[in-house]
Amino acid sequence: MLNSLWLIPVWPLLGFLVNGFFGRRIGKTAVGTIACGSVGLSLLASLGALGKLLARPAEARRVEQVLAPWIGAGNFQADWGLLLDPLSAVMILVVSGVGFLIHVYSIGYMREDPDYPRFFTYLNLFTFSMLMLVLANNYLLLYVFWEAVGLCSYLLIGFWFEKKSAADAGKKAFIVNRVGDFGFALGVMLLWTSLGTLRYDQVFAAAPAQLVAGGGVVTAITLLLFLGATGKSAQIPLYVWLPDAMEGPTPVSALIHAATMVTAGVYMVARSAPLFTLAPLSLSVVAWIGGLTAVFAATIALVQTDIKRIVAYSTISQLGYMFLGCGVGAYAAAIFHLMTHAFFKALLFLGSGSVIHGLSGEQDIRKMGGLRKHMPITAWTFLIAALANAGIFPLAGFWSKDEILYGAAAGGYGAVWALGAGGAFLTAFYMLRCYYLTFEGRSRVEPEAAHHLHESPPVMTVPLVILAVFAALVGFVGVPPEHGAYHRFVEPVFAGAKQVAGHAASVGEVPMAILSLVIALVGVWLATRFYVWRPEIPARMVERYPAAYRTLLHKYYVDELYDALIVEPIRRGSLWLWRRFDEPVIDGSVNGIGALIRIGSLALRRVQTGYVMSYVLSFIVGVVAILGYLAFWR
């Protein structure tokens, strides 16, 4: 298995090709089987690879294979090369594992959709691209699949393209990501220009020697790379696309916009840990952006009413935690959170999908309530995921989030820790709010939707249950904190990065864990008070702080701000360029020369009057000029 890493990503590629070319002819069952089967094969291959990797000694857990040369121009060289190390092993497991479950779930969720084959074609393409992204052995290849997953995201968000909002959202996602990729690409160029290579191993080997730690170049490289990460992983300032991306089918939100693709930024930063380590400034930027995003998105989530958007803002917030972790040097914790998050967030989305499915498309939690009686599996699994997300002991989220917060505190990032802790409180609150409004209390379901309200079929609920198990238990691979099986496996990857981010402050692990648990529990308690015991409180709050409420509801008006500051000026400017500059000035001057000659022609033509006298006159003028010149001016 380790000798042929290509076996891991190749299956979804085949699935993509088969479904893409023949999907409409072979029937839904075949399409679904091929799609799920291919991802299943990848999962098996990944597990096999993991097993082989584990069998090796810790320092030999690194396999690199170059499949083929790719771009070569002068001394620029990039290959089709794969790299499997513990970091990518974790990633491929998450991708193929969660991906497989979501594929299966989609069979049920998308059953009625006429574009069923197209859906699975895209989904397979995504899985392939995502696997390649995490397996790439150089930055350029990473960039390639970085954009490829962006493309899949574009296609899947806009899957129901007849809906304008969906098509718009897809486009927005792609373009906002392009802005991030702009930074990524420049970072890659600067990296190559500075080091002459893009292969991870060579870059990391050369960087400490050739780049001055804390110097401008490495800071620029890392910040540019991080700009790319903010795009893909929906951080401030480029997070705006992710909430809109909820226009896509719910499995897509689960797979791409929660579990896998959006974490690519975190993966990239973690992968680049040796570089970031050289740039403390960049690290603190990462930490601060992460922390701010965590709180910022959480506040928005407090008042949203669309179930998927709540989860989406929660995703942004959780991604913020991961960056926070990276920023404080707790890369392993960040990746740990990435992994646990993949499970419980996918579960949250799939649960919401189940709800939406059951309510025939309704997404507004104000029109839900009391659903637990009708769809118990969904409700319980959702609750597990919500609590995991809120960081309640002993669910998966608790372990990983605690580790990040501990890293921040231990690294001496007090302010960042405070942000994270505040975010944790908010998270617990809005997650429980979401759960209560959806599943508890009295039903506010519209009558016709209530009519065929039902629990989802097993093909959907079984993945829910499996995910719930993981969401509950997967945290234990990281127990005890910082020294669990997970850490022993992954930590060597970040060995080089550790040296800088040493523990600056001495804080006890256990007290910190208890503290963060308490914070989360307060959030849970408050949510319960607001939405179960005293349901009139939220309305009062709204009345008392209308401005704050409106600001949160409108997501701080960031979309409007971007529209006014960037989108509109560009659009108007372009129109101006075309109508007021290109046509009249540039083209005008071209046509103007032509017109001038034509006018000259019409004018000169009139000299030719037809009268012999004037011809003679012209003749005489010529005579006088020539003879005068020759006689006098010569």
Binding site: S601, L602, L604, R605, G610, Y615, S618, F619, G622, L630
Partner: protein, 485 residues
């Protein structure tokens, strides 16, 4: 003063005698020929032309000076005489269907065509200002008559009168110039004039300079240089189409032949002076000719302005005053002959049954309807515009090469920009022919074999000069070797 009768070399004279003889014979036979058989007279004229060409050809490579130094049968004369015979021959082919249609198929027409050809031949062969003047007048007087040959048509009358008045007026200046040069140098023989100037024996330099200026004016009129060009459009528009074709190609070539011979043989020492004057004339001529041509709607008039512009290009080569420049004039005039006569042949061929088609818009849609004539016309227009791979391009290429070689880069730039302007009106013909919507009624007069032959010769000539210009350029360069002593 002992003098002897000059030696007369009949062999060297034979071509001119054949042309003159054929003309006189036609005049004699004309009353004896029934109107229906008048094409026999044309055949006779053609025979005369071909015979003259053969007579010229067999004497190639044997330069000779005859009539006591007044005429030369050198390579330069040979080249131009053959060119004039080509012009005359093609004109005859074009004339055959045309003159019958417009009712001017008299013997006189053919005879005058031959006489004016004779005048051209004399001009190109002259080594003496007097013979040049005589050739010029022989040519001009015949053309005055030819221009007015459509006696019933006022336009033709007007054309002839304008041509005559202005031509005679210009002749006066030319003559005055000859007189002053004669007075200043004591001779009318080109070589002796040159010798006199070179040896510094000129009594009054001002007289010489003014004489040179007047010569430039006189020839400026003949080649239609701005501002002496005003007659050209009117005369070319009003004259019968076949005559216009003949004038546009023949007169210009003859005038440039004599002009070139005078400047290079008699006045090389004054080159800085005349180059400066001609520089201005060239710029004016190119620009005015091209710019005004844009606004024309009559194809004959447009081609008249175009001929003015082409005179400007050739003046550029004169300005350069080097071997390549002189050679390029010969080359250019040949290409010019092919493309202009070809274009006129197409104009004649596309005439309607009931009359000529001279308004450009009347050609709408004909290009695709008559593929051969359309393609031919397009080729001639592209060639006139100087777009490769045609003779017109190669001609311009040589001319501008000569100018750049002589370091007249500004002039070359003006020239090439002018050729861009010219593209506009040449392309307009193709635009109308290929991209316009034609009316259905127009049935053309049909393509007679003679016309077809003329078009074909013109096409082959244009392409030959464009694709394989090498040999021809060598011939042209060798021919001008005779001038540069």
């Amino acid at each position: 003063m002992p003098s002897s009768l000059p030696q007369i070399s009949w062999g060297a004279m034979l071509p001119m005698l054949l042309v003159a003889g054929a003309g006189i014979l036609i005049l004699i036979l004309d009353p004896l020929t029934p109107p229906a058989r008048r094409d026999r007279l044309a055949a006779l004229a053609l025979v005369g032309i071909v015979a003259a060409a053969v007579a010229l050809w067999v004497r190639r490579g044997r330069p000779e000076v005859v009539f006591g130094g007044m005429l030369a049968a050198d390579a330069f004369a040979l080249f131009f005489n053959l060119l004039f015979l080509l012009v005359a021959g093609l004109t005859l082919l074009i004339s055959l269907p045309y003159v019958r249609r417009v009712g001017m198929d008299h013997g006189g027409y053919y005879a005058l065509l031959l006489f004016s050809t004779l005048g051209m031949m004399i001009m190109a062969s002259s080594l003496d200002l007097m013979t040049i003047f005589l050739g010029l007048e022989t040519l001009s007087i015949s053309l005055y008559i030819l221009a007015g040959f459509l006696r019933e048509q006022l336009k033709s009358n007007e054309s002839a009168l304008k041509y005559l008045l202005l031509g005679a007026f210009a002749s006066g200046f030319l003559l005055y110039g000859i007189a002053l040069v004669y007075g200043a140098t004591g001779s009318i023989n080109l070589k002796r004039v040159a010798e006199a100037i070179a040896s510094g024996k000129v009594a009054n330099p001002l007289l010489l300079t003014i004489g040179m200026g007047l010569l430039i004016i006189g020839f400026g009129f003949k080649v239609a240089a701005v501002p002496f060009h005003m007659w050209t459009p009117d005369v070319y528009e009003g004259a019968p189409t076949s005559v216009t074709a003949f004038m546009i190609a023949g007169t210009k070539a003859a005038a440039f032949a004599a002009f070139l011979r005078i400047l290079m043989t008699a006045l090389p020492v004054l080159q800085p002076d005349w180059s400066r004057v001609l520089w201005v004339l060239a710029v004016l001529t190119m620009t005015v000719g091209n710019v005004v041509a844009i606004a024309q709607s009559n194809i004959k008039r447009m081609l008249a302005y175009s001929s003015i512009a082409h005179a400007g290009y050739i003046l550029v080569a004169l300005v350069a005053a080097n071997k390549l420049g002189s050679g390029s004039i010969l080359f250019y005039l040949t290409a010019y002959t092919f493309m202009n006569l070809g274009a006129f042949a197409v104009v004649v061929a596309l005439a309607r049954q009931d009359g000529e088609r001279v308004i450009i818009d009347d050609y709408a849609g004909l290009g695709l309807k008559y593929p051969f004539l359309g393609a031919a016309m397009a080729l001639f227009m592209f060639s006139l515009a100087g777009i490769p791979p045609t003779g017109g391009f190669m001609g311009k290429f040589y001319i501008f090469s000569a100018a750049i070689q002589a370091n007249y880069i500004g002039l070359a730039i003006v020239g090439v920009l002018n050729s861009v302007i010219s593209v506009f009106y040449y392309l307009r013909i193709t635009v109308v022919m290929y991209m316009g919507q034609g009316e259905a009624e127009s049935r053309p007069a049909g393509l007679s074999p003679a016309l077809g032959l003329a078009v074909l010769i013109a096409i082959l000539g244009t392409l030959q000069l464009g694709l394989f210009p090498s040999r021809f350029l060598e011939v042209a360069l060798r021919s001008v070797g005779a001038l540069l002593l």
